[in-house]
């Protein structure tokens, strides 16, 4: 396996044929969902899930470099607002606005992470938290442009059909592309350098890894994708308001990642799917619904420390232990 660490070079590609097929199957399954579920509301849920998956995955990518970006929801908001303002007030095409939103978010991310790169783990988390709150309040205080607490409504949409199916397929494609890119970044040497910095910035700088360069790179990439997600959100949801990008939402994003599993690329994907959709299933409970999410949180955090992705591993080990036990009984 040692050969895989630096780069998945040629031979590993062959090695991963089976998983590749597996991924293909999953993608096909996801592509078929609109045929299975006709209700637009369910598609609506799917689409939101896809958006949050991009956000959570990009957040985890930043976290691999040992930085906890507590401004991430604010960046989602930044993307959303930029896209909304451009497409509504400036009359740009929503598609263009989407890209610009991602780029703006990335630029802001780069701009702040140069000064912030001086700050280590906890202080970085806190200063980014403050930046997030400040950014959001700043957006909120822009009066007519952003509509304050009440947010922006009737944002131009990507398609002018009432149907949600095109959104689903486009967003599914965007999600898959984003995840693929993030995955590649993580699997190649860039990802390993980030992890090295996370483990010891002293040691990594002593072998010539530029700490600042890679931390900024991580934030830039993360913010680009979260900005993209924000733009998607705005131009799909047609209404946005600051309250959905506040500190609580950031913490929920962290939860999406942590519940899924921080150490695994699939973590945020699963965490988001579970934590976003299961409470929706119980939405009949009205004001008692939040308790369902709380129950999930406690169950997972106490039962599976490494998140939901560790369940198969746990099962496997349990099974193996049984086998061993049986053998010992025989002998």
């Amino acid at each position: 396996m040692g050969s895989m660490i630096a780069a998945p070079n040629s031979n590993t590609h062959r090695k991963n044929l089976i998983p590749a097929i597996g991924y293909g199957a999953v993608i096909c399954l996801l592509a078929c969902l609109p045929l299975i579920f006709k209700s637009p509301y369910i598609l609506h849920l799917f689409i939101l899930t896809l958006i949050y998956i991009i956000a959570a995955a990009s957040m985890r990518f930043i976290m691999t470099s040992g930085q906890i970006p507590l401004a991430h929801a604010a960046f989602l908001g930044l993307g959303a607002y930029v896209s909304a303002v451009l497409s509504k007030h400036m009359g740009l095409s929503p598609w263009l606005a989407l890209i610009i939103a991602a780029l703006v978010s990335m630029c802001v991310g780069i701009a702040i992470s140069f000064p912030f790169a001086r700050l280590k783990a906890f202080y970085y988390a806190m200063i980014s938290l403050f930046f997030g709150v400040g950014l959001l309040q700043g957006i909120e205080s822009l009066g007519k442009l952003t509509g304050g607490l009440a947010g922006i409504t009737s944002i131009p949409t990507l398609f002018n059909t009432g149907s949600k199916v095109p959104y689903y397929y486009v967003f599914l494609a965007l999600t898959i592309i984003s995840l693929a890119i993030l995955y590649r970044f993580e699997a190649c040497r860039i990802g390993w350098n980030l992890k090295a910095i996370d483990q010891s910035y002293l040691v990594s700088s002593s072998v010539g890894i530029s700490e600042v360069k890679y931390r900024v790179l991580a934030v830039a990439i993360g913010c680009f994708f979260v900005g993209l997600a924000g733009g998607m959100y705005a131009n799909y949801n047609v209404t946005i308001s600051p309250s959905s990008f506040d500190t609580t939402s950031t913490l929920w994003m962290i939860i999406y990642v942590a519940i899924g599993g921080t150490n695994d690329f699939a973590g945020p994907i699963i965490g988001t799917a579970v934590l976003f959709l299961i409470p929706q299933y119980f939405s009949g409970l009205k004001q008692y619904t939040p308790f369902v999410s709380a129950a999930i949180l406690f169950t997972v955090v106490f039962a599976f420390r490494d998140g939901l992705v560790s369940i198969p591993r746990l099962i496997r080990t349990r099974y193996q232990r049984k086998k061993v036990k049986v053998q010992t009984d025989d002998s």
Partner: protein, 292 residues
Amino acid sequence: MPEATILLIIASIVNALVLSSMYILLALGFTFLFNIMGILNFAHGAIYMIGAYICFFLATAVGINQWLAMLIAVAAVGLFGIFMERFAFRPFFGNINQIIVVCIGIITVLENGVSVSQGFIVQVTPPFVQGIFRVGIISISWERVVIFLIGISLLILVLLFINKTKQGLQMRAVAQDLEGAVLQGINVHFVSALACVIACALAALAGSLMGSYLSLTPYMGQDIMIKVLEILVLGGIGSINGVLFAGLIVGTLDAVLPIMVSGTATQALMMLIIIVILLFKPQGLFGKEVRG
């Protein structure tokens, strides 16, 4: 200078002092917890809220004297602190993500629990003291004066506790160097439990006081939480003086900024100021310089 302006200035000073004393009370406990166990108790605000509600409930529904109610609330929430230390923090020592998960779980339960159980009544704890205190053109409600005095005296008590008593010294030892403290034979779990109790008790106390001075909502903790974090970071980790000083700064900003700019812009300005300070002093105002 016109009288209106003078009044404005005086009022701002008073507000600054009262707010600061509350913020410092809250932040002290939180900082304890962070220094000693390295735990960011994101549920601190929710605990402040629950303290306020317990006091309110005892003072109105049960109908006992609100001072007594406050004491009971403090005690009850203090016990809850032990529970949290044992079941929420100790198992996840040093893993910030899992701590966040647990804290959000606790917040969700507490806030929605209160929101569901209370129903819609506008809730205010009966005032601890009545009347208005007048000197010349200055006029302050006794309530604020009392809150301020209680805040200050508690600060002094806590500082004495940290600096004079055995447990206090142990806390500082643990905060400075965990392994060393363990080698010294200090029972870390006891110390951290103690810290948790103090943190929660102070939060509950602040909550009860503010509950009469403002009115109660299940979400009153959320904004306070950010303030507490600001104070912790601004003051610099591991420094009590830092907390006092940062508390004063944040309180003053909160009392003065709204007069200058309108509504939501205040928070943005506040954050800007704090970020700038942090960039010039990355370790906070009173934080120690790290040796390479």
